[in-house]
């Protein structure tokens, strides 16, 4: 596969189509699902896929398609907010420490490196202890866990940018540090951040699913793909579709993000080529 001069290549396009489709489903599900994802029906327990219920029903007679759609909404929203949190906080800290250098930089980076030397999911797990298993807890816990890697990437870029002539020029004509940082340095540091944000969206989605699967994420009855899989466990043998649908949803999303992420990295970050 030769490197595309423009665009993102075939794999990147497949990634965009996958993510785009799922994103549309997630947005639609925020307003409309075929059935109420929470409404119980004891008569309709564990029914296999049919014309009325394309993906069958679960152990409480809830429509699996509606729940998978609502799960997409939940997972995408949580991942989006988490990434937005990590990118905003991480970019601000990264630009400030990289630009100012000195003791602020040293102290912050020591803390940052210490956090990086610890598995992110464990950091999130321990934060969940404090914040409790709920939607806000997940977003905050994962957001804090992923911030240090953003700080590291942004600081590295800023360190090389601050020596460029246009930054010198901005200082020379009397612009303040804050103005130079956010008007001249920040926009030039965004490409690696975009690449990182794509992968991070995937990590978050997977981590949120894992937490929900363990019962430490979004609590039932609100559906997420992770807690749907956890609920499906006892019924797997008799009702395979319960285990297949949420898993395929997670796998397709991750596949889309991995393909898109690889394409973006090839396009914007020649140092980290996957060839």
């Amino acid at each position: 596969m030769s490197k595309p001069r423009f665009g993102l290549g075939l794999n990147g396009m497949i990634g965009i189509v996958l993510i785009g489709t799922l994103l549309i489903v997630a947005i639609v599900a925020a307003f409309w699902t075929p059935y109420d994802p929470l409404s119980l029906s004891l008569r309709m327990r564990l029914k296999p896929p049919s014309a009325a219920h394309w993906f069958g029903t679960d152990e409480f007679g809830r429509d699996v398609l509606s729940r998978a759609m609502a799960g997409a909404s939940a997972s995408f929203l949580i991942s989006f907010l988490t990434v937005a949190f990590a990118i905003t906080v991480g970019t601000t800290l990264g630009v400030v420490t990289g630009y100012l250098r000195g003791w602020t930089d040293r102290v912050l980076m020591m803390g940052n490196d210490a956090l990086l030397a610890f598995p992110g999911i464990l950091l999130a797990l321990s934060l969940m202890v404090v914040m409790g298993a709920n939607r806000h807890g997940v977003i905050l816990a994962l957001g804090i866990a992923y911030t240090p890697s953003v700080v590291r990437v942004v600081r590295g870029t800023v360190l090389s940018l601050r020596e460029k002539e246009f930054v010198e020029a901005s200082k020379m004509i009397g612009n303040s540090d804050i103005y130079s940082m956010f008007r001249h340095i920040l926009p030039n540091a965004l490409a690696p951040v975009a690449v990182l944000a794509t992968s991070m969206f995937g990590w978050t989605l997977l981590a949120e699913s894992s937490l929900s699967f363990l019962g430490l994420g979004v609590p039932p009855p609100a559906p997420t793909w992770g807690n749907m899989l956890a609920a499906a466990r006892p019924h797997l043998e008799s009702s395979v579709w319960l285990g297949l649908v949420p898993g395929i949803c997670i796998a397709l999303t991750m596949l889309g993000i991995n393909l898109l992420g690889d394409a973006l990295r090839d396009r914007f970050d020649p140092r980290m080529t996957t060839a």
């Binding site: 610890f118 598995p119 992110g120 797990l125 321990s126 894992s210 797997l236 898993g247």
Partner: protein, 314 residues
């Protein structure tokens, strides 16, 4: 070598100190009185006072931290609130289960992926390469707990070849233990194959472009020799670093696998402790993981010179 070891250990001190401060602060960040949380609302004042004193909560914060850290340094992680067991032996027993799974899975994955990545790089852009890349990207996209559930469903329930639930300690009967561990190890191996193959392929492609590879080919070294003698040794270093990172991260990610296969491992110990609000165990597990993570990275760094003679331990 010794000097490097000391310096390397010294860089781990800020990490471990920060983690211990965070773990210490954790229990105090939880809204409410930790002692009341631990004992429940119906506890009598006497036992509340006793536990308060036992945990040193009647002292000032820095004193509390010092006392707590001193105990940890002596290997005293306290007792579980729910069962009264000492935390350290409990963690060690559970850790053995997880360590066997993680080590075997990563070793197997590396044995398959490193040659796999090498072959893909060698056949770059040919059908073999495209098939290997597609397979590894697909594996990379599967959530480990879902793959585990699928394998469990197929080999455990449908075919009935392997047990679905249960565990025999390795020390009692290694053979029987392996039967229970086949599926969890297979699950993790498949997931990690995706990650390691991609890294191995990417670094082999970089090396294949270098002049000494052309030179080796030009002087008539057979292709197998070029790959084994010239490409593999030079392409292995980044993969080795990645394997170290994977080992560390799996300690955090193992809980879902242990949940799927109902194994009494380290991850499950921590998750159960979080549910039971058994804070001494939660604190112990976090610290234990941090120490293991630092140690794994240290061992990985120390092994570097074995694979790449240009890197010296100094």
């Amino acid at each position: 070598m010794l000097g490097y070891l000391v310096r390397r250990l010294a860089t781990a001190i800020p990490t471990l100190l920060l983690v211990s401060i965070a773990v210490f602060a954790l229990i105090r960040l939880i809204p409410g009185d930790p002692v009341q949380l631990m004992l429940g609302d119906s506890a009598d004042p006497q036992s509340v006072a006793a536990l308060r004193q036992q945990l040193g909560l009647d002292q000032s914060m820095p004193v509390q931290f010092g006392l707590w850290l001193g105990k940890i340094a002596m290997g005293d992680f306290g007792q579980s609130i729910t069962t009264g067991q000492a935390v350290l032996p409990l963690m060690i027993a559970r850790f053995q289960v997880s360590a066997i799974i993680v080590l075997m899975a990563v070793a197997l994955a590396a044995l398959i992926s490193v040659p796999g990545g090498l072959i893909a790089a060698w056949r770059q852009n040919k059908a073999t390469d495209i098939a290997i890349v597609a397979a590894s990207t697909l594996l990379l996209s599967l959530p480990s707990f879902w793959l585990g559930l699928l394998l469990l469903l197929f080999f455990g329930l449908k075919l009935g070849w392997l047990p679905v639930i249960g565990y025999v300690p390795f020390s009692e009967s290694p053979g029987a233990a392996l039967v229970y561990l086949v599926l969890p190890i297979a699950t993790l191996t498949l997931i990690e194959i995706g990650v390691i193959t991609r890294m191995s392929r990417a670094s082999a492609i970089e090396v294949l472009r270098l002049e000494y590879v052309t030179h080796a080919r030009a002087k008539g070294v057979p292709e197998a020799g070029v790959l084994a003698r010239h490409v593999l040794p030079n392409a292995f270093a980044p993969t080795w670093t990645l394997i170290g990172l994977i080992l560390g991260n799996l300690l955090g990610g193992i809980a879902v696998i242990e949940t799927v296969f109902t194994l009494p491992g380290f991850g499950r110990l921590m998750v159960d402790a979080i549910f039971a609000r058994d804070y001494p165990i939660v604190q112990g597990c976090l610290l234990f993981t941090a120490v293991i993570y630092v140690l794994v990275n240290l061992v990985v760094d120390l092994c570097y010179p074995l694979f790449d003679p240009r890197v010296t331990a100094e």
